[in-house]
């Protein structure tokens, strides 16, 4: 419990530090909204001309984009450092700082980084899911809303796990921007569009190796009742929470082993 109280205290401090730069924050709110809604606008323009993308209409693609933004927003809000930051700490030797305190280093790392932009991402995600729901006349039951919350948490676990595992590799090999960069590209671009437009190898990669497809594609099959989009196995539509837990367990093991193997760069 001590850990948890400390966690919230550190977190609140970091949040306060960010709110110091109020103008920066307001500018970034507008920027993120423009980015998200502008990109959605481009997809609308092109789907207005073409009707569908691999069998997915504008509302359905918007749902994929919005669902991804929900977990992405929480990731950016609470875990911004996990995407590349850990890497930098290890290479610069700054990581030693986290090991010197009598707290779980991963918890300390998370508490130390907050990025308010995540809040804007999350809100844009809500807006886009709402746009998709109106376009598609989706009927939201209590059960579906509950499952949506569980899916978002599962998706968050998947994202955290993938980046944690990718960062842990730098315990052994110091320079690995390539790995995080490529992971980034799959996370930021590939899953914006339905998985079925890609070839089998990429579909398998995003399902079994870096399971980003469970962040939005597979759960969307359930929410949109889209059995035509099933890939590999129909049960995958419900698997996001389980995949999240499994992925996290695996990533945490890699992280632990990495910690043990860690020898400081000493700088």
């Amino acid at each position: 419990m001590f850990n948890l109280r400390l966690f919230f205290k550190l977190f609140a401090l970091n949040l306060k530090a960010q709110l110091e730069y109020r103008v920066d924050f307001i500018v970034s709110v507008f920027q993120i909204m423009l980015l998200q809604l502008g990109s959605l606008g481009l997809i609308w323009i092109v789907l207005d001309r073409f009707h569908d993308l691999g069998g997915w209409t504008f509302g359905e693609v918007a749902f994929l984009v919005g669902l991804r933004l929900l977990s992405h927003g929480i990731l950016i809000l609470f875990f911004p450092d996990i995407r590349g930051g850990v890497n930098e700490y290890i290479v610069s030797g700054e990581f030693d700082r986290f090991l010197l305190k009598p707290v779980n280093p991963l918890l300390l790392l998370v508490a130390n980084s907050v990025l308010l932009n995540g809040f804007t991402d999350f809100s844009s995600g809500m807006a886009i899911v709402a746009i998709a729901s109106t376009t598609l006349h989706l009927h939201w039951t209590v059960m579906k809303i509950f499952f949506l919350a569980v899916v978002v948490l599962g998706a968050l676990l998947i994202e955290v796990s993938v980046y944690l595992a990718a960062s842990s590799v730098s315990f052994w090999i110091l320079k690995l921007e390539a790995l995080t960069d490529i992971t980034f590209q799959f996370h930021e671009q590939f899953i914006l569009y339905p998985l079925n437009i890609y070839g089998k190898p990429i579909q398998a990669l995003l399902t079994f190796v870096i399971p980003f497809a469970f962040v939005n594609y597979y759960p969307a099959i359930y929410f949109l009742d889209k059995s035509s989009a099933v890939l590999f196995h129909p049960a995958f539509a419900y698997a996001t929470p389980a995949v999240g837990i499994l992925a996290f367990a695996g990533a945490y093991l890699i992280w632990k082993r990495g910690l043990r193997a860690y020898g400081s760069t000493g700088s």
Partner: protein, 268 residues
């Protein structure tokens, strides 16, 4: 002139030393090519032509867009980077060292950025050639189109540089360009036709956007390459590009002399 060539050469050599980074960018470029190809294949769903745009022309456009992005990716971040660089130098005061040099500051930056461009060309052109062979893309309809494409692309680069430089001058007043720089990057990404060609936009939006400088960066050269813009229309587009380059260049001179004076007052 010699000095500027040397600056360009030096920045080219700087890039050569970071070949590892170039390799990652190459990999990212190949992934982008694959992504866009899947995207347009999913949209065309087997038809040869939609809204007057042939499938092969569209693939050619998308491939060239990735390549052009790789060439213009001067500082690692997409476009608009001088702005960030300048803001950093303003805050640290390092800018004084650049101003002490007996070179024209704008030309100095331009040479520096062109050296990096040369490096990008060196590894992007082979990717382009490979992509054209593997994907069986269309060459430009004739030598005139090829020539106009290169001219239009060059003016596009000039415009990216000028826009970036103008934004960077804001740092002389605010020492911070994060917000404006980000907005500029975003506007270029959304309105230049880099992802969705302006041909698919509603006619009124296309007309409006083709008068803005952003469409010069992707839409103009790529449309000339695939033969959608030709003859008098192509000439008109290039005239608009040249006009923007002149206007922005004049503006940059005026603003630069003001920024310089402002800095001197600042320094007391």
């Amino acid at each position: 002139m010699r000095a500027y060539l040397e600056i360009a050469k030096k920045s080219f050599q700087e890039m050569l030393s970071s070949r590892g980074e170039a390799l990652i960018r190459l990999l990212a470029m190949l992934l982008s090519l694959y992504l866009l190809r899947s995207f347009w294949k999913g949209l065309y769903a087997g038809s040869d032509e939609v809204q007057g745009m042939k499938f092969t022309s569209m693939l050619t456009y998308a491939t060239l867009s990735v390549i052009t992005g790789g060439i213009l990716n001067i500082f690692g971040l997409l476009q608009v980077y001088i702005a960030y660089w300048m803001a950093r130098k303003m805050r640290s005061g390092e800018i004084v060292m650049d101003l002490l040099k007996p070179t024209d500051f704008e030309l100095y930056l331009f040479s520096h950025s062109t050296g990096r461009l040369a490096f990008n060309l060196m590894f992007s052109v082979p990717v382009a050639i490979l992509a054209f062979i593997v994907f069986r893309l269309e060459p430009p309809p004739g030598p005139a189109a090829a020539f106009l494409f290169m001219g239009s692309l060059a003016i596009g680069y000039l415009l990216v540089f000028l826009i970036d430089f103008l934004v960077s001058l804001i740092a002389f007043w605010t020492t911070q360009t994060r917000g404006v720089g980000g907005f500029t990057r975003l506007i270029i990404a959304l309105l230049s036709g880099s992802f969705i060609p302006l041909w698919f936009f509603p006619a009124w939006a296309r007309d409006a956007l083709s008068w803005l400088p952003f469409s010069s960066i992707y839409h103009a050269p790529l449309s000339i390459f695939i033969g959608k813009l030709k003859g008098a229309e192509a000439m008109k587009t290039i005239a608009v590009q040249v006009a923007w380059a002149l206007v922005l260049f004049a503006l940059s001179r005026v603003l630069w002399s003001r920024a310089r004076r402002h800095l001197m007052i600042h320094a007391g």
